[in-house]
């Protein structure tokens, strides 16, 4: 593994070596190698969802942990996120094809004034992986843009992301606007982002605060199921 000068031929590695190597490549932000690895695993019959969760997401977890521990900084994290994005671009259409019955639809965006999107993108990818259709409005999204997308796509879930203490309060502005328009109850509102907490989510009137992408997926599934049950009664 470490520091050898030999070129590694990805296709010659067995599944577990390859999966490990791909996580290293993700760590090093090697986009082309990630794409190559994804294609090899697909050719070997791996499920797209398994590649996403067992290789890419667990690889990103290491990146996230080392970022948290002050070993990596933003440039390295962004390179890794870009490599993940490239792998995800291959997987996305396949996830849609092979995906379990549609779990639901989510409109998601980073709120106005805020340009952080790494976390939101991760949430979007995980939700797609879990069978949700995701409409991503990008960064700096204002209430009107959220409203227009809700009107157009009729989602089950509205997801909002904010990373700044100065922009997280904009989520409340959006929720109040939904109430004014009388459509708040038509939607499950999920919020997330590093500075938020449970108390904040409750105080602004969201249905749930999601600490990370995995929790976002679980929460989305749970709340959509509850809603379906209620609607059947």
């Amino acid at each position: 593994m470490a520091d050898d000068d030999e070129n590694i031929i990805l296709s010659e590695l067995d599944d577990s070596e390859l999966s490990e190597q791909m996580q290293d490549d993700l760590y090093d932000g090697l986009k082309d190698e990630i794409c190559e690895g994804v294609n090899i695993l697909l050719a070997r019959g791996w499920e797209p969802y398994a590649i996403l969760t067992e290789v890419l997401v667990s690889g990103m977890k290491v990146v996230g942990d080392d970022f948290r521990d002050g070993i990596l900084f933003v440039p390295e994290v962004l390179l890794a996120a870009n490599a993940m994005k490239a792998g995800m671009a291959i997987l996305r259409p396949l996830l849609v094809e092979t995906g379990a019955p549609k779990a639901g639809k989510m409109v998601v965006g980073t709120v106005k004034g805020d340009i952080h999107d790494i976390g939101k993108n991760l949430v979007g990818m995980m939700m797609e992986g879990a069978g949700f259709e995701v409409i991503d409005l990008g960064i700096n999204t204002d209430a009107d843009e959220f409203l227009a997308a809700i009107d157009e796509h009729k989602p089950d879930i509205l997801g909002m992301s904010a990373l700044l203490t100065t922009t997280m309060t904009y989520m409340k502005v959006v929720i109040e606007t939904l109430k004014e328009k009388g459509i708040r109850e038509d939607l499950i509102v999920l919020v997330g982002g590093a500075p938020l907490n449970e108390e904040f989510g409750a105080a602004i009137g969201a249905d749930a605060y999601c600490k990370d992408a995995a929790i976002a997926v679980d929460t989305a599934k749970k709340l959509v199921a509850e809603r379906k049950r209620l609607n059947h009664v």
């Binding site: 590694i8 760590y27 090093d28 933003v74 100065t166 997280m168 309060t169």
Partner: protein, 333 residues
């Protein structure tokens, strides 16, 4: 010699001001609005904030233009009003200073573009210089004494802003936020930043640190920054503690008492321009004035002393040295 330099010649310490953004929120700014628009919509509130810092004893006012570059104003569709927004910001502060009857430096705030430089993002160096130059021209036109380049994290962005100030012909200062394990988000360490500034052909008038994650972390960063800053005066503008989310609003943990102690430690660390960033209200700044007027610099400031006085580091550096720049290397290519 410019005004900031001449004031630094005659005084030991200069008191900067407190927060702009968080105080504007307290005055009714709503999340999602551009604070810079208040230069037109509520000039009296901007001036009231400046006046409150003058009354607290500030020798330097930072203008309401942090997000005044085209890249930032673009988020609010105001990118075609860059010059106007910045000129107005400087004028508002100048008027307050003129009425004070004191010498007050007008520091034209220049914040980051918020964009990443290529290859990570879309911004080229040349574009960044252009974007900053446009903003700094506006500030100069409105009467700013210095381009106050602040809250930076990327070395190339700092360079671009300094180069723009030089092109426009306005003196400059540069401060970085060391908020991520003792470095900036982009991995810039305080000492390395200082060395880069000292080596520049056209040096800023002063360098230092602002914002970030609390007063302890900022003073700790100075322990590395000051010894590498040569004879450049050092700026410290720390947040009032750290933000805590209570219900649907945010409060900063730092009391005026704490910020008085912070100002003393900033002096001990070797800073000469001292003030506050997010969360600092006029009452915090007034207590810093007290510290600046009475405290005598003590030698031998240590991390222990900092954390005993101001609380634990929020984002301590990783002292294990990391993993040799990577987990496992694939190829040496």
């Amino acid at each position: 010699m410019n005004k900031l330099q001449s004031m630094l010649e005659t005084r030991h310490f200069l008191l900067a001001d407190g927060a702009t953004g968080t105080n504007l929120f307290d005055m009714g700014l709503v999340s999602g609005q551009a604070p810079e628009m208040w230069n037109f919509e509520h000039p009296e509130r901007i001036q009231a904030l400046h006046q409150s810092f003058v009354d607290a004893g500030s020798d330097l006012l930072v203008t309401n233009s942090f997000g005044g570059s085209a890249r930032r104003l673009h988020l609010h569709n105001l990118h075609d009003r860059v010059r106007e927004v910045n000129a107005r910001a400087a004028e508002l502060a100048c008027e307050v200073a003129a009425k004070s009857g004191r010498d007050i430096v007008i520091a034209g705030s220049v914040g980051p573009t918020g964009d990443l430089f290529e290859p990570l993002g879309p911004l080229t160096y040349a574009q960044a210089v252009e974007v900053f130059a446009e903003q700094i021209e506006g500030l100069k036109q409105g009467g700013a004494d210095v381009a106050w380049i602040e809250t930076m994290s990327a070395p190339e962005e700092i360079s671009a802003a300094l180069e723009a100030a030089y092109e426009v012909g306005l003196p400059s200062t540069a401060t970085v936020s060391f908020d991520t394990a003792g470095r900036s988000m982009m991995g810039l360490a305080p000492g390395d930043f200082a060395k880069q500034m000292v080596e520049r052909e056209h040096k800023p008038v002063a360098i230092g640190s602002n914002c970030g994650v609390g007063a302890s972390d900022l003073v700790y960063a100075l322990l590395d920054l000051v010894p590498n800053a040569g004879d450049l005066p050092v700026i410290a503008k720390a947040n009032a503690g750290i933000p805590h989310v209570h219900g649907d609003h945010v409060e900063y943990s730092g009391t005026p008492d704490l910020m008085e102690e912070y100002a003393k430690l900033a002096i001990d660390a070797g800073a000469r321009i001292i003030g506050g960033c997010c969360g600092n209200r006029p009452e915090h700044v007034a207590r810093m004035r007290k510290a600046l007027d009475s405290h005598k610099r003590e030698a031998g400031l240590s991390l222990e002393k900092i954390t005993e006085t101001l609380g634990p580091l929020v984002s301590p550096p990783n002292l294990s040295g990391g993993r040799d720049g990577g987990r496992r290397r694939r190829r040496n290519a």
